[in-house]
Symmetry: C2
Subunit: 104 residues, 2 copies
């Protein structure tokens, strides 16, 4: 069984969040996820359609381990949501301010 | 002669800024510099007194190349200031929001 590592809200660190978001593709993934009302599987949340599955999977892992997203397994799909409430509890306003500055 | 690399304001990138600040020591350096009215030399802006000079120097280089600080040479000293106006022009509110969440 796949186990996903999700840090507790109080264990989310500022440098971890900044590091995870310091990559244009990961920023786009988070921006894409946050704009959706539904949870998204990894392929749907890809920043570009031709990204290798392993690269995409690694980006999701980094985001998950930094506390930015929550991944759950539904059948064969991994579904992802941004931990907006947890992030706002830990660092009010941070995610919103960062995402405001993402181009396009 | 030492030449310092300072990106133009329009060349400062979001991922570059986040990456440079994704290190607790560099966050402390920027926080320390911004709290000062005077420019500071590298030693005075060190996040901890026992940090190796080469490590400190590397942190300053990363911050400088990401567009976070400006370094000038005065005699044998390197003096540093945070490029607050440039950063606010490029990414309004970003630096302030990030620094608000630095512990201690």
């Amino acid at each position: 069984m796949t186990r996903f590592v999700h840090p507790a809200t109080e264990d989310i660190t500022l440098s971890g969040v900044l590091s995870a978001l310091a990559d244009p593709n990961r920023l786009k993934i988070v921006q894409g996820l946050i704009g959706q009302k539904e949870v998204m599987n990894c392929a749907a949340a890809a920043p570009c359609p031709d990204m290798a599955k392993s690269t995409l999977s690694n980006h999701f892992r980094v985001l998950r381990e930094a506390g930015l997203i929550r991944t759950t397994k539904k059948g064969v799909e991994h579904q992802n949501t941004v931990r907006e409430a947890d992030l706002n509890a830990r660092f009010p306003g941070l995610l919103k301010t960062i995402l405001k500055h993402v181009d396009g």
